[in-house]
């Protein structure tokens, strides 16, 4: 080693000299090709892994997507067939309303996706330390968020647009242009979302949380206003011509010619019409292509702007964000945590401490509670709107059961996404738990109680709200509440039990744990469980209330339908739900506990 020196170095670039010929910064094109090649290699490797290790998940995703697509197509086909007889302007209003809402949603969802991709991902931390152009990093991460947006939009929008084309008997060019139209449209909100994200992070880092709070408040206020306006306008005159006209006039605000949603709606309607008054079919295609060109050119222009912006502010924003000061949390125990810890016997104290710990983690994880609030909040808004319509008793009861199923399905997504990985994540901290005087069973039971109690309170509340709005009689309300309680217990039992039975102790990401084999199995079993619970209770109740179990004289039919439609049948259904709920709760928990006791981390 040479002798140390503290002589300052020269500050001119001459000390470095030009890089050797074998090492020159890649051109823009070479860099783009390289990053695109990387994306392709990663996608191929992920696909290969999925085909070999996650066939169940892949099959499930394809089947459920096909089912979802087919159901939506059927729904839209019937809707358009009904509307086809009405004035064509209605379609334009509906399309504009739908696409403009989607435009706004895509801007915000892409901003959030880009935030995590550009600023929080390990890949971004790697790329920013390499001689990569910031705009190249932006476009590389943009591909991810664009793919997610396109996938959702195509799955949701394509059945609607295909159904529209079929009902309108559109020419083949309409179907050919569908995909380019959708892709060209998504580029615009996706790019705007990316730009919004970079500008927010770079320019208002200190105000970011305030900006977020304002955006959430404004969105919530908007949703409440929309819900309120719908409630206020639709009391006794639901589905009347006046109500219809009022609704259409409210939607007219979305028909703005400078909105990309209008370009998309107009281009598609033009294309589906097959002809214009003056020029015939080819004229319609040309007109449609003009709208497509308008979308594509604006999308490309925005891409150029986004690249220009990324070159200037991406690195600055990354640095600003890295310098963010995390708020200090002085030890303050909330009254609820203190109450929960101290209440009950000394023997149960470790269990309660574990629950308080999970509760604290939940409160501090924005991803968890924000999704919880958004989904259950939207459901609450929907339930509040139910009373706009009037139903007969049997119909209302059925809607009540469907609402129960929806509540169960939403809860199952939470138990699979957030509760199932809890044991796996705890496994990574096994050394802490192993050293504590806590029995392993208590860890599993604490997760179950946390999930079960945390799910029961909002779910039973929502089901009660739905039943009250529907004016359902109290015995049926009681049946709904029993079913809801069983759903909460069973779904928690499945998620926690399978989480302990099939833990993934190596994985740190909860989303990856949830999307593995165990998580997929939990989701499938949860869905089957919900269907079984709802059917077991709903069928006899419906038969009983509709009087289908009795003949014209009011005497019970001698067959199975007669028995199922009797009061005994209803109680038998409820009893079956309780038995099924108990089994779904205890069996996975038993298997999970047995495996977890012997687990070696």
């Amino acid at each position: 080693m040479h002798s140390p020196s503290i002589t300052p170095v020269a500050t001119t670039s001459s000390v470095a000299g030009p890089p050797p010929a074998s090492r020159r910064l890649p051109s823009v094109e070479a860099e783009s090709r390289l990053l695109f090649g990387l994306r392709a290699r990663l996608a191929l490797a992920a696909l290969k892994t999925m085909l070999t290790q996650a066939r169940l998940r892949l099959t499930l995703v394809i089947l459920l997507s096909a089912l979802f697509w087919g159901s939506l197509y059927g729904l839209f086909y019937e809707g358009f067939a009904f509307l086809n007889s009405l004035h064509a302007e209605i379609i334009s209003l509906l399309f504009n309303g739908f696409f403009s809402s989607l435009l706004l949603m895509l801007v915000f969802s892409n901003a959030i996706l880009m935030y995590s991709g550009l600023y929080c991902s390990p890949e971004a931390r790697l790329l920013i330390t390499l001689p990569a152009r910031p705009e190249a990093v932006f476009f590389h991460k943009f591909q991810e968020s664009f793919w997610f947006s396109s996938w959702g939009f195509i799955l949701l929008g394509s059945p609607m647009l295909v159904a529209y084309g079929v009902v309108r008997n559109a020419p083949w060019t309409y179907f050919l242009l569908l995909l380019p139209f959708m892709v060209a449209f998504v580029v615009i909100p996706a790019t705007l979302g990316g730009m919004l994200c970079m500008a927010t992070v770079a320019c208002v880092p200190r105000l970011r949380m305030h900006a977020l709070a304002i955006a959430i408040t404004a969105s919530t206020a908007g949703a409440i206003w929309l819900g309120w306006s719908a409630l206020a306008s639709a009391r006794a005159d639901s589905l009347s011509p006046i109500w219809f006209e009022q609704t259409m006039s409210r939607l007219a605000i979305t028909e703005q010619k400078f909105f990309p949603s209008w370009w998309l709606a107009s281009g598609l309607i033009e294309s589906a019409s097959g002809k214009t008054a003056l020029e015939g079919e080819s004229g319609a295609v040309m007109e449609s292509l003009r709208f497509l060109a308008l979308l594509a050119s604006n999308g490309l222009m925005l891409q150029l702007l986004a690249g220009w912006l990324a070159a200037r502010i991406y690195r600055l924003g990354f640095s600003q964000l890295s310098a963010e000061v995390t708020a200090r949390r002085p030890l303050r125990i909330s009254w609820f945590d203190r109450m929960l810890t101290q209440a009950g016997t000394a023997a149960g104290r470790p269990l309660r401490i574990l629950i308080v710990k999970d509760l604290r983690l939940f409160r501090r994880d924005i991803a968890q509670w924000s999704q919880f609030v958004i989904f259950f909040g939207l459901l609450g808004l929907y339930f509040l709107n139910i009373r706009s319509f009037t139903y007969n008793n049997s119909y209302a009861t059925m809607i009540g059961f469907l609402n129960l199923a929806v509540v169960g399905l939403i809860l199952s997504t939470f138990t699979t996404r957030f509760v199932f990985p809890m044991i796996s994540l705890e496994g990574r901290r096994f050394w802490i738990l192993n050293l504590l005087p806590v029995h392993r069973d208590q860890i599993v039971w604490s997760k179950f109680l946390f999930s079960c109690v945390g799910g029961t309170l909002p779910c039973c509340g929502l089901v009660l709200l739905s039943d009250m709005m529907l004016g359902i009689r109290w015995p049926v309300v009681a049946i709904h509440e029993i079913c809801c309680l069983m759903l909460c217990m069973g779904l928690s039992g499945i998620a926690v039990g399978l989480g302990a039975l099939l833990p993934d102790l190596r994985e740190a990401s909860p989303s990856k744990i949830a999307s593995g084999f165990g998580g997929t199995l939990a989701l499938v079993l949860s869905s089957l469980f919900i269907m079984a619970v709802v059917l077991l209770a709903a069928l006899p109740t419906h038969l009983y209330l509709a009087g289908l179990g009795a003949d014209a004289e009011g005497t019970r039919r001698p067959d199975l339908v007669g028995w199922a439609g009797s009061l005994e049948g209803v109680w038998a259904g409820v009893a079956a739900v309780v038995v099924l709920g108990t089994v779904a709760t205890l069996l996975p928990l038993f298997l999970g506990l047995r495996h977890f006791r012997q687990l070696e981390a």
């Binding site: 040479h2 300052p8 670039s13 000390v15 074998s22 890649p26 640095s319 890295s322």
Partner: protein, 257 residues
């Protein structure tokens, strides 16, 4: 090769690095030491472009890290404390990706990839997906990738974490060889024995300020403790009472830019 010119970095009201002036010449192995929260990681982040200084400038081979980050990066190899790899790429694919990002020509890249695979003994697992690697294997791969493009400056953040004794020996030998060949190494570490063994100079940061800059021998002289090792000197210099009562040494000699 590396120059910090009056660099200050604040996190809100807190100053993580305060008025850091430091110049590290070609071929020197410099070890930055200090207790947790002293500002070492912030310094490294500014050096590799993850953070921008609130004041002052960081230059690598004369290229300003804020004004010309791409050219600065071209001269840097960086080994973070937490290796970031693509789970679904093999080690060899990762090396190719890095080589191409640095604009290496294919023939040269192939030759260098072969060399680093041999040097870091990666051959057994170079064609496996990196998701199956242990921490030590990942660290060796990141080391290999950081040296692929023959950087003028190698920045190491806790380089020995996760490495087994054999890999530690490989890295030490390699660092000696590379500094002899003219590479500048900037290393942040808590492994004082390694710093004492390897470093030409050490810098000791306390609460964002460079409390000492020089050789271990100079530190001994200033503290008047000839027969003491670096660990003992470091512990005395960074003891809470020493930190509270101000510098016990004459201030570190800043390397004026």
């Amino acid at each position: 090769m590396i120059e910090f010119a009056e660099v200050t970095r604040t996190y809100g009201p807190k100053t993580a690095v305060s008025g850091l002036s430091l110049a590290i010449p070609k071929g020197e192995l410099f070890a930055l030491l200090g207790p947790n929260g002293a500002g070492k990681t912030t310094t490294i982040k500014m050096l590799v472009g993850l953070l921008r200084p609130s004041q002052g400038a960081v230059r690598v081979c004369g290229f300003d890290m804020v004004k010309d980050p791409r050219n600065a990066h071209l001269h840097i190899g960086y080994v973070p404390d937490d290796p970031n790899l693509y789970d679904k790429l093999t080690g060899r694919e990762f090396l190719w990706f890095i080589a191409e990002m640095f604009g290496m020509q294919q023939q040269h890249a192939m030759q260098r990839i072969g060399e680093v695979i041999d040097n870091f003994e990666l051959a057994d697992f170079a064609d496996d997906l990196t998701e199956s690697y242990s921490l030590g294997m990942k660290q060796r791969l990141v080391f290999a990738s950081s040296l692929l493009h023959d950087p003028d400056v190698l920045v190491l953040d806790e380089p020995m974490v996760g490495l087994d004794p054999r890999s530690v020996r490989i890295v030490k030998d390699l660092l000696r060889k590379l500094t002899h060949q003219g590479m500048t190494v900037f290393m942040s570490t808590h492994t004082l024995a390694m710093a004492e063994e390897m470093a030409d100079r050490v810098g000791i940061m306390v609460r964002g300020q460079l409390r000492f800059l020089g050789t271990v021998e100079e530190l001994r002289q200033q503290m008047d403790k000839q027969a003491t090792n670096l660990e003992q000197l470091y512990l005395e210099l960074t003891a809470p009472q020493a930190m509270a009562t101000g510098p016990i040494l004459s201030p570190a000699r800043p390397d004026a830019p």
